[in-house]
Subunit: 153 residues, 2 copies
DNA sequence: CATATACCCATTGACGCCCATATAATCCCA
DNA sequence: TGGGATTATATGGGCGTCAATGGGTATATG
């Protein structure tokens, strides 16, 4: 499986380390399996993460913008300076920077939610509530959910 | 990682030395790991820096402007003639020239902002404010920032 | 000779690496 | 197929190394 799926709740130890779920580690390319990038989610009080490969794609995209435009600076500031790379140790653990923990209200436990090509890290209770809310929103438009699930090809 | 990423705030000591963040040093090619270039940012009161290799890229960008335009002269004058090369000592520190510190209002602390293929050095508070402003501008076009981050392939 | 800058050494705290354990998952063979 | 044995994962902790920082001294450069 090359997608981040499922949900896991892991503990953060005294040193601030937390295990990246094993199934998530396996999604990372063998080449860069010991490094991930983290950044604040745009829409929710959660942290998003993925392998570094994705960052290189983003870099390429930004590089294609007009170098002297304001957008160029805005994108590169909002993205590059806000992205944090963090190393995964031999046991599969990594450190969540203090600033990101604050942003997501994470203290002693971290809930990992697979999101396909990336994943989110939530404070467990908030994550749970978010799941319920988003399901509720979807059900309001049952039709579109049904379409999503049953649509062929 | 071969990109300048993340944000760091380092102290400037009595002698004017400041550490280039370790992760930034690692971006520099092993060959010229003890030398960087600095210049005034065109658009903001900050200093921009990168490895010497990047000079060629900058030249290319400027060359792509209309040769007879005013911009061409302005850019090539503002950038090339003002570029300063600086050496990094054994401990990874370097000196920020007085003129550049003045330009960026930097006194006792320097905030390093990764920008992909280069980085910016700001007076911490101004840098913080710039990040917020730039994010605010982008959020007005929510779609584009989200696209930048989540678009596949 | 005076000032600026490079090199050397020292300190502190953070982080990575190693080893250890408990629980859970998987295997394997009789 | 049952159940012990093996392996993997999550977690805890010791310790060495490295990054950031401070300061003394040599060296250069005008």
């Amino acid at each position: 499986m090359d997608l981040f799926v499922s949900k896991y709740i892991n503990k953060i130890d005294k040193k601030g380390r937390v295990s990246l779920p094993s199934s998530f580690r396996n999604v990372l390319p063998k080449a860069n399996r010991n490094e991930i990038i983290l950044y604040k989610s745009i829409k929710t009080p959660s942290i998003e993460g993925c392998g570094v490969g994705r960052l290189k794609e983003i870099a390429k995209r930004i590089n294609n913008l007009d170098f002297f435009s304001e957008d160029y600076d805005d994108f590169s500031t909002s993205i590059f300076s806000e992205i944090i790379t963090t190393n995964i140790d031999k046991e599969g653990r990594f450190l969540i920077p203090e600033e990101l923990k604050l942003y997501a209200s994470i203290k002693t436990e971290a809930a990992f939610f697979g999101q396909g090509h990336y994943f989110q890290i939530w404070e467990p209770k908030k994550g749970q509530k978010n799941t319920e809310d988003s399901r509720r929103r979807l059900l309001k438009e049952k039709k579109s959910l049904r379409m999503m699930l049953t649509q062929q090809k």
